[in-house]
């Protein structure tokens, strides 16, 4: 079958898609966007997290046919050319990236969190990222990165981090 959708704002067509193929497979193998990672194909690790119509989902659990006429956003769409999104920059600066296999999913999930909650508490951060496994970092530097990104975004908005806005 043919699936027509947008990826990172660009109209995209994938041909010869099998019924059983996931959105993750289509992104990685058919439209040349391997940034989203496959570490379990069971919805357990979050490495494949992408936006679907603005909500984060595990791309491995979405059948390709389900994205017909819908909008997909991936890690490749977070940066504006060479300008990293504050979440990406914070992951680099805080040392939250080791092997980096978990990173694309964590970035999308964190990006979503910080759109919803400008000053998340540590407990809120942990809850929001609880579906994203990382085997390398022990999450400490990931926590630092999320806090750093939240603080920088607040600075850019000119707002003080005065507790959670949820």
């Amino acid at each position: 079958m043919r699936v027509t959708f947008t990826v990172n704002g660009r109209p995209t067509e994938a041909d010869d898609v099998w019924e059983g193929e996931s959105l993750l497979y289509v992104l990685r193998e058919r439209v040349g966007l391997p940034g989203s990672k496959n570490a379990c194909e069971q919805g357990e690790c979050g490495s494949c997290t992408v936006y679907l119509d603005g909500a984060p989902v595990c791309a491995c659990l979405v059948a390709a046919g389900q994205v017909q006429d819908r909008a997909v956003g991936t890690v490749e769409g977070l940066a504006d050319g060479d300008t990293l999104d504050p979440v990406q920059q914070a992951f680099v600066d805080a040392g939250a990236v080791q092997c980096g296999f978990c990173t694309p999913g964590l970035l999308v999930q964190t990006h979503d969190l910080l759109n919803r909650a400008h000053h998340p508490s540590d407990a809120e951060i942990r809850e929001a990222l609880s579906g994203n496994l990382c085997r390398c970092t022990g999450y400490e530097k990931i926590m630092d990165a999320v806090r750093l990104a939240a603080a920088r975004k607040a600075d850019a908005r000119g707002t003080a981090p005065a507790g959670s806005e949820g």
Partner: protein, 788 residues
């Protein structure tokens, strides 16, 4: 897309004069990784490529009566179905002993053993073809670690005539260590108290997030180019060449992006399979394991059963230790012999004990093969000896940290192998520091509305509001060796090139080191900046065009390949200065004091004597150096004596847990660590290693185990094999000590493994403190706490 997406040069740019050793510059691959542009092995693509898959045995032990591949071959889109009969060269491989068939020959010895491989034009076609292969099995009962020790009754895992090296019966390798008077009757009589404990460690998986993957591309010269996620390119090649019947120069490996390793990529997995399919079809072949296959596709941490006896005087001085350890090596040898060597030589922990008798043995079984995982034989032992230290402290009515500090080894201490520790060994100091860290506040209130469920055991499943929750605190400390041991010729190779590009001096670093996430590429750039005074450093992709770097394991790469990069940079500097001497007539005395700083040659008084760009001109300087650590010795087979390890590394942990004693749920509240790293080459990366290692120790303590029943793996998925999430992982304050090892480059000490050792016993000690239970097995499960 055109051509293979292959690894590229990484540019590491720093502000002028900054970001040498001791700084924490960003990773040179960091931006690629956060943009989703970093080419992991599973992301590779080639025009016209095929997908490979593997048929694996559903049985742990069976004769193969027949294999019929005709239905698989008949499927449209299938290009090849290969069995052992199609292998052009040797049919066996192995890290230390070549006892593992590339594809099963007439029998299978573990659940998941590869039998046939398929190449097809779509991964789903390849999977369907695998399902059409018909194998006729004659199944036998699996031999487990208990049966393995009685081969007369239960049989052999391998035909007795096939056992190689020290293997015999079902024993892969054993090592005895006899220290002082062992555990003789006289020694025992000197102890006022003797405590005995039996402990078990379950099978842990590395669970790196990026499953095994690679792309094999047949070349015009009849050779193969393999882009691969591995830990050691050259030893992969060494095992591949005989199977492919190709000389080394025709098997070229390039490191693709690696999604973590932790020992699980030390053995080869799909490397040979992809190359065989590429050789046969003449087309590029990519193999990417899914998570389930990954659980079957690599070795695991050895399960262990351990019996310890510790004798001490009434005032807490250790008199002797007796330890008997059996490690389940699984069906093939992998690195079991070296794991046994570690377990035996490090088996009493970082303590001074005048007498010891230790026996460590690895057995062949029909369980999944076990080999390298972070901590490598020292993890299991640490759970045993630290549990014993707590038991002894309780018996003596002594504070457990005080008991440990009283017996702690230090520089100058003699190990049970007879080796004198000739570098700092601040064991007591690490314990003192970790104990002195402030304790976390009680995270919950027993009553009232202010309870945050997320702070409690059970979390938002709302299983308690604080009732039944008890806090416990526990400690652990461990000792791990760094580098390859027991007389192995351990070396690494680095090539450094210095040249002028666009008017600026630029250094290129080329090694075969596997960057698996640890940040070696960052440190290499830092070393070159420090030694050569340049800001721009390029890291070339790791490949087999340069000499071996050894494995990214044994906490050795910063020491070994870092040491090689340092030596190569020094050689480059020497050549540059020799050029200056020839050209400008510099005196030997002047040259002896010259350094390269900020693109200039400066003398002892920091006066500029030349500009590096002028000195280099259009003649690059290019040096390749092999670096070796001090030689070690094999342990004596009968006594375990010998200078077996080149360096030791230590970490101490304090764990604070809350346990819901009614439901058996554990929340680790805090996991504090103190570790000596000799020199923190990159403090941010050091913290990353300590946090990551501690978290894997936490996983072993309370959740991680591959459950094997009668040889069959029951939980090969992330649904059933749980690794710590961000909710399971607590804040981890770290105190880093830097006491230089005079024998190591920059005084550094390998950092990656030690934290994995002591986290586990510290957490279990904390759970014991909260529950009063003995808890002799890890992982600790809820049913162990509730008795149900």
């Amino acid at each position: 897309m055109a051509g293979p997406t292959t690894p590229r040069n990484l540019s590491a740019v720093s502000a002028p004069g900054r970001d040498g050793i001791g700084a924490s510059p960003p990773r040179p691959d960091g931006i690629l990784k956060v943009k989703g542009d970093f080419a992991y092995a599973s992301d590779l693509w080639h025009e016209d490529m095929l997908w490979g898959t593997t048929l694996r045995s559903p049985h742990a032990r069976a004769r193969i009566r027949s294999v019929d591949v005709s239905a698989a071959l008949a499927l449209p889109g299938v290009y090849a179905v290969l069995t052992h009969e199609d292998i052009p060269g040797s049919k066996f491989y192995g890290l230390e002993i070549a006892d593992q068939p590339v594809l099963a020959i007439d029998e299978v010895r573990f659940h998941g053993e590869p039998i046939a491989i398929v190449a097809a034009d779509h991964p789903e076609t390849a999977r369907r073809a695998v399902a059409r292969i018909v194998v006729d099995y004659d199944v036998s009962p699996a031999i487990g670690p208990v049966e393995a020790l009685d081969p007369e009754r239960y049989g052999h895992v391998h035909a007795p005539a096939d056992y190689k090296a020290h293997a015999s019966g079902n024993i892969v390798h054993s090592q005895h260590v006899h220290h002082g008077d062992g555990d003789s009757a006289e020694v025992r009589a000197r102890a006022d108290v003797i405590v005995r404990g039996e402990y078990e460690v379950g099978m842990q998986d590395q669970a790196f997030l990026g499953p095994e993957s690679g792309l094999a591309v047949p070349a015009e010269d009849g050779g193969i180019d393999l882009y691969i996620a591995t830990q050691w390119l050259h030893v992969d090649r060494q095992q591949m060449c005989p199977v492919l019947a190709l000389p080394p120069e025709k098997v070229r490996l390039t490191l693709a992006g690696v999604g973590g390793a932790f020992g699980g990529r030390e053995d080869i997995s799909m490397q040979v399979h992809a190359c065989l399919l590429a050789q046969y079809t003449g087309k590029p072949v990519k193999i990417v394991y899914n998570r389930e296959e990954s659980f079957f596709g690599h070795v695991h941490r050895h399960p262990a059963t351990m019996v310890f006896e510790h004798g001490a005087t009434r005032d807490g001085r250790l008199v002797f230790v007796r330890a008997e350890i059996v490690l389940d090596g699984g069906a093939y040898a992998s690195s079991s012999p070296a794991v046994v060597g570690n377990a035996a030589s490090l088996g009493i922990g970082p303590y001074v004990i005048p007498n010891a008798s230790i026996d460590a043995t690895a057995v062949y079984t029909n369980n999944p093969p076990c080999g390298a995982m972070r901590g490598f034989g020292a993890v299991q032992m640490c759970f045993g000896y630290e549990s014993q230290m707590d038991r002894l402290a309780a018996e003596l009515g002594m504070d457990p940290v005080k008991l440990r500090r009283l017996n702690a080894m230090e520089q100058g201490s003699v190990l049970p192998t007879g080796q004198v520790v000739d570098a700092p060994a601040p064991v007591a100091e690490l314990l003192r520091r970790v104990e002195a860290m402030p304790l976390p506040a009680a995270a919950y209130r027993r009553t009232g509305d202010g309870v945050d469920l997320r702070e409690l055991p059970g979390g938002v499943s709302n299983s308690t509001h604080g009732e039944g929750v008890v806090r416990g605190i526990g400690y652990g400390v461990g000792i791990k060796n760094v580098g390859f041991s027991e007389g192995f010729d351990d070396y690494s190779t680095a090539r450094v090139r210095l040249e002028v590009i666009n008017g600026a001096p630029v250094a290129l670093v080329h090694t075969a080191m596997a960057e698996v996430g640890q940040g070696g590429v960052t440190v290499h750039a830092q070393i070159v900046r420090t030694e050569l005074g340049v800001d721009l450093v390029t890291i070339a992709p790791a490949d087999t065009r340069v000499g071996s770097a050894g494995s990214t394991s044994a906490s050795r790469q910063t020491y070994m390949t870092g040491g090689a990069v340092k030596s190569a940079a020094e050689a480059v500097r020497g050549t540059v200065l020799a050029r200056g001497r020839r050209r400008h007539g510099w005196t030997p005395d002047l040259v002896a004091g010259l350094r390269l700083v900020d693109g200039k040659v400066v003398d002892r008084a920091d006066a500029v004597v030349a500009d590096l760009v002028d000195l280099l001109g259009d003649e690059p300087v290019d040096e390749t150096v092999e670096f070796r650590h001090r030689p070690t010795q094999a342990f004596d087979r009968l006594t375990g004596q010998g200078f077996g390890h080149v360096q030791y590394t230590f970490c101490a942990h304090r764990a604070v847990v809350d346990v819901d004693v009614e439901l058996g749920l554990v929340k680790v509240v805090e996991l504090a660590a103190a570790q000596d790293v000799g020199k923190a080459m990159n403090p941010l990366a050091v913290l990353g290693q300590i946090h990551g290692g501690s978290t894997q120790g936490l996983g072993l303590a309370v959740m991680e185990e591959i459950v094997v029943a009668e040889g069959r793996v029951r939980n090969p998925s992330f649904t059933d094999y749980l690794i710590p999430t961000i909710l399971d992982t607590p804040p981890m304050p770290v105190d880093v000590l830097e006491l230089a090892d005079p024998h190591a480059p920059y005084g550094l000490r390998g950092a990656g493994e030690a934290p994995t050792l002591s986290a586990t016993p510290a957490i279990v000690a904390a759970i014991r403190a909260a529950t009063g239970l003995a808890l002799n097995r890890v992982p600790v499960r809820p049913e162990h706490l509730t008795g149900i």
